[in-house]
C-alpha cells in the first residue's frame, strides 16, 4: 500500500488545496498518470502519481486545504513497485503494510460509501472551490438534491452576512501564512482578485527568503547578437509562421548548452549541501496577464532541437496563462531564465528561485555602437546577466558560464 500525498509544488509551499479528483476509487493508475488538480497560490496544477496500482480510496474531499505531505489517497500497488521519492524534500510515503490489504485489487474498491455520495454539477463544484466553500455543507435544489451553481451562489451570499472567521492556522516553518479573509465591510474580492493577491503574497515570501538565505553575486556580459539574428532572419523566412523561432529560443538553448560546460550551476541547494542535477531543465519566467509570475520548466532543454524548444515554450506560455500547468513543470527547474521582452530595460539582475542556485537574465535587444575590426558600427546586442549563489560557485566559474553562452550564440546554426 502506498499513500498518494499532497506534493510540494514549490519551495515555499506549505499547504495546498485539493481542487478536484480526476480519478475514482477502483481506477488503475500508472506512474505518471495525472490523478488530481491541486490549487496553490500560484496556479492550478495537475498532479501526477508516482506509484502504479489501483486507487483504493480517497482520504481528502475536494475543496479541502491540507499541509504538504498529508496523505490524499491510498493506492494498492501492483507487485513490488515502490513509490519513487517526490522531488521536494518531503517525508517519503508510509512503508507498505505487512499484511496484504483486505480488498482484492481486482474488485473496484467500495470508494466513498453510498450515503456520502454528493450530487453536484461540475460547474457548481468548480464555483464552490473558487469561492472557498465546502461542498459537503451545501444543500442542493436540483433533481435528487443535486447542488447547482445557484445553490453555491446562495451559500456564498449567506456567508458574507455571517461574521468572518480567520482562515487556516499559520503553518509552522515557512513564512507563507494564510492571512484572514479581508474584514472590510465593503464588497468582497472577486475570486480572480483573491487569487491574484494570494499569488503576490507567495511571490513576496519566496523572494524574501531567497534574499535572506542566498548570498547572491552578479556578473554581466554584453553579447553581440548580429550573427544569431541574421541567421534567425534567414531561418524564419523559409519557415511557415507556425514554425517560426523567437530569438528567446536561441537564448534559452545557449543557456542550456552552457550549463553542460559549467554543471555546478545546474544544481539545487538541499538543506546544507549542493546537489548536482543530471537533467538540464530550464525554468522560463512567464509573466501572467494581469500580473503575477510563474517559472515552469522545459524538460531536458539541452537535448531539444530549436523547433522542439519553440513548440514547448509556446505550449508552456499558453498553459501558464490559462492556469493549467503540471506539477512536474512547477517543481523541477534546475535553473531559471528571465527576460524582459521588447519594452524592458537593458539589463536585469534576477533573484534566484530557491532551491536553484542561479538565475540568468536577459535584457532587451538593443542596437549599440560596437567595435569590429577597428571600426565603430551599429550592432544588435543583448545584456546577459548571471545571479549566482556564492555558497556554490565563484566568479571564475560563473564567468566561464557567461563566456560559454556568448560563444554559443556566435554559432547559431549549431544550437
Amino acid at each position: 500500500m502506498a499513500d498518494f500525498v499532497m506534493p510540494s509544488l514549490g519551495a515555499d509551499m506549505s499547504a495546498g488545496t485539493l481542487a478536484a479528483w480526476l480519478k475514482q476509487p477502483g481506477d488503475a493508475v500508472k506512474r505518471g498518470d495525472i490523478v488530481a488538480v491541486v490549487h496553490t497560490d500560484k496556479a492550478d496544477v495537475e498532479v501526477e502519481v508516482f506509484t502504479s496500482g489501483v486507487i483504493e480510496r480517497m482520504l481528502v474531499e475536494p475543496g479541502t486545504e491540507v499541509p504538504v505531505g498529508t496523505p490524499l489517497a491510498v493506492i494498492l500497488e501492483e507487485g513490488a513497485a515502490t513509490p519513487s521519492a517526490p522531488v521536494a524534500p518531503t517525508p517519503a510515503a508510509a512503508p507498505p503494510a505487512a499484511a496484504p490489504p483486505v480488498a482484492a485489487p481486482s474488485v473496484p474498491g467500495p470508494g466513498v460509501p453510498a450515503e456520502h455520495r454528493l450530487l453536484i454539477s461540475p460547474s457548481a463544484r468548480q464555483l464552490a472551490h473558487e469561492l472557498g466553500l465546502e461542498v459537503d455543507a451545501l444543500t442542493g435544489s436540483g433533481p435528487g438534491g443535486r447542488i447547482q451553481r445557484r445553490d453555491v451562489e446562495a451559500a456564498a451570499a449567506e456567508r458574507e452576512v455571517a461574521p468572518q472567521e480567520a482562515a487556516a492556522p499559520a503553518p509552522p516553518a515557512p513564512p507563507v501564512a494564510a492571512p484572514p479573509v479581508a474584514a472590510a465591510p465593503a464588497a468582497p474580492l472577486t475570486p480572480a482578485a483573491e487569487r491574484s493577491a494570494a499569488m503576490r503574497r507567495a511571490i513576496a515570501a519566496s523572494m524574501s527568503r531567497s534574499k535572506r538565505e542566498i548570498p547572491h553575486f552578479y556578473l554581466a556580459q554584453t553579447i553581440d547578437l548580429s550573427r544569431a539574428l541574421a541567421w534567425l532572419g534567414q531561418e524564419n523566412l523559409r519557415r511557415p509562421v507556425t514554425e517560426r523561432l523567437l530569438h528567446g529560443a536561441l537564448l534559452i538553448k545557449a543557456v542550456a548548452l552552457a550549463l553542460r560546460e559549467v554543471p555546478e550551476l545546474n544544481a539545487t541547494w538541499e538543506g546544507d549541501e549542493v546537489v548536482r542535477r543530471d537533467d538540464v531543465n530550464v525554468g522560463v519566467a512567464i509573466a501572467l496577464r494581469g500580473g503575477g509570475l510563474v517559472a515552469p520548466a522545459l524538460h531536458h532543454t539541452d537535448e531539444l532541437t530549436l523547433e522542439e524548444l519553440m513548440h514547448s515554450f509556446r505550449d508552456l506560455v499558453s498553459r501558464a496563462r490559462a492556469g493549467s500547468l503540471r506539477s512536474s513543470e512547477m517543481s523541477e527547474p534546475t535553473i531559471t531564465v528571465t527576460s524582459l521582452g521588447e519594452r524592458g530595460v537593458e539589463s536585469v539582475f534576477g533573484v534566484i528561485f530557491p532551491p536553484q542556485v542561479a538565475i540568468v537574465g536577459f535584457g532587451t535587444l538593443v542596437e549599440r555602437p560596437w567595435i569590429t575590426e577597428g571600426q565603430i558600427l551599429p550592432c544588435p546586442v543583448v545584456n546577459a546577466s548571471l545571479s549566482a549563489d556564492h555558497r556554490v560557485t565563484d566568479g571564475h566559474r560563473a564567468s566561464a558560464f557567461l563566456a560559454a553562452v556568448d560563444r554559443l550564440l556566435q554559432e547559431p546554426e549549431e544550437l
Binding site: 454539477s121 461540475p122 460547474s123 457548481a124 463544484r125 468548480q126 435544489s141 436540483g142 433533481p143 447547482q148 451553481r149
Partner: protein, 327 residues
C-alpha cells in the same frame, strides 16, 4: 457598400450565376436543373444564360450522376451536382463514401475530388415518410468531406462560393422550407467563412445550439423565453456540421452553463449526440445541467399536418426543454 434584398433561393442562384460566369470549369448538373429550372426553382433562367454545356440535366440515377460529378472533378472540372433532396442521395451513398470521400486517401494524395453537392433537406412540407429526411448526421460522420448547413440568405450564397474553393468534396444541405426566406445582403457575391459557427442572438442564461431549418424556430423560442419567462437564450447557428466548431459552443457555455441542442434529425445516433459528447469531453466543468436535446421524434415522418408538426422540433418544444432546466 450597397445591399440587395433577395430570397434564399435567389441567393443560391446568384452564387451559381457568379460561379458559372467567373470560372469556366464550373458546371451545374442534376435532375430538372435545365429547362425546368430545378425542382425548387433554384436554377431558373440559368440554362438560357449559360447554355446546355454548363447547365446539364441528369437522368434519374443519383448514383450515376454523382459518380459522373466525381469523374468530372477528377478530370479538372468544378462540378456542382444538385441532388434533388437528401432522400434520393441515399442512392448515391456508395459513390459518396467509397469514392468521393476516399479517393484522395486511397491514391496517396495523388487524386483530389473537388466536388460540390447541393441537396434540399428536411421536413414540414407534408411530403411524408420517404421524402422528409434530415440525414445530415450521416454525412457529418464521414472523414474526408465537409458538410455545410446554410441557414441564412448570406450563407446560402457565400457557402457555395466557399465550397468551390475547396479541394475536397463539400456537401451543402439547404432546408427546403428556407428557400422563400428573405434577407438583405451585400450585392457583391463573395465566399464566407466555413470553419466557424455564428452567434445569431446573444444571451447569458442558456445556450441553444442548432443548424439549418431549425434556426428560425430557435430564434422564435428565444424571443418567447425572453418575453414570457425572462430568460436570455444565446442562439448559435453551427453553419458547418463537419468540421464542428465546438469552440464557439464552449465559449457560450462558459457564460451560460446550460445547453440545449436542437436538431431536426432523429435523436438516436444523431448529430446532437455527437455535439453533446464533445461538450462533455471538453467542457465538463462548465456544465450546471446535463446537455439537453430537442430532436425529430423517433418515428417515420407522418403525412397528416398535425402529426407532422408534432414530430418536428418547434419553438414550443425548445421553450419547454429550456424551462425544464430548473432556473
Amino acid at each position: 457598400m450597397s445591399t440587395i434584398k433577395l430570397t434564399y433561393r435567389e441567393a443560391v442562384r446568384a452564387a451559381l450565376r457568379h460561379a458559372l460566369a467567373t470560372d469556366p470549369r464550373v458546371f451545374l448538373m442534376g435532375e430538372d436543373v435545365g429547362g425546368y429550372g430545378g425542382a425548387f426553382a433554384v436554377s431558373l433562367g440559368l440554362l438560357d444564360e449559360f447554355g446546355p454545356e454548363r447547365v446539364r440535366n441528369a437522368p434519374l440515377s443519383e448514383s450515376g450522376f454523382v459518380g459522373a460529378g466525381i469523374g468530372a472533378s477528377l478530370g479538372g472540372m468544378r462540378p456542382i451536382v444538385e441532388v434533388m433532396t437528401i432522400n434520393f442521395s441515399l442512392l448515391a451513398l456508395d459513390q459518396v463514401v467509397n469514392n468521393a470521400a476516399t479517393l484522395r486517401y486511397m491514391s496517396g494524395g495523388q487524386l483530389s475530388v473537388p466536388l460540390v453537392v447541393r441537396m434540399a433537406t428536411g421536413g414540414g412540407r407534408q411530403m411524408a415518410a420517404q421524402h422528409e429526411h434530415s440525414l445530415e448526421a450521416w454525412y457529418a460522420h464521414i472523414p474526408g468531406i465537409k458538410a455545410l448547413a446554410p441557414a441564412t440568405v448570406e450563407d446560402a450564397r457565400g457557402m457555395l462560393l466557399a465550397a468551390l474553393q475547396e479541394q475536397d468534396p463539400v456537401f451543402i444541405f439547404e432546408h427546403a422550407l428556407l428557400y422563400p426566406l428573405e434577407g438583405e445582403i451585400d450585392d457583391e457575391p463573395r465566399a464566407v467563412d466555413i470553419a466557424h459557427a455564428a452567434v445569431r442572438r446573444e444571451g447569458s442564461d442558456v445556450t441553444v445550439v442548432t443548424y439549418g431549418g431549425s434556426l428560425g424556430k430557435c430564434l422564435a423560442a428565444a424571443e418567447l423565453l425572453e418575453q414570457e419567462h425572462g430568460l436570455a437564450a444565446e442562439v448559435i447557428d453551427l453553419r458547418t456540421l463537419r468540421p464542428l466548431d465546438t469552440d464557439t459552443v464552449l465559449a457560450s457555455l462558459a457564460k451560460t452553463h446550460r445547453v440545449v441542442i436542437v436538431d431536426e434529425g432523429w435523436k438516436t445516433g444523431g448529430l446532437a449526440g455527437e455535439i453533446s459528447a464533445q461538450i462533455m469531453e471538453q467542457g465538463f466543468d462548465l456544465l450546471d445541467w446535463p446537455v439537453q436535446r430537442v430532436c425529430g421524434v423517433e418515428v417515420p415522418m407522418p403525412y397528416a399536418k398535425h402529426l407532422e408538426e408534432a414530430a418536428l422540433p418547434s419553438a414550443e418544444r425548445v421553450v419547454a426543454a429550456v424551462r425544464e432546466m430548473a432556473f
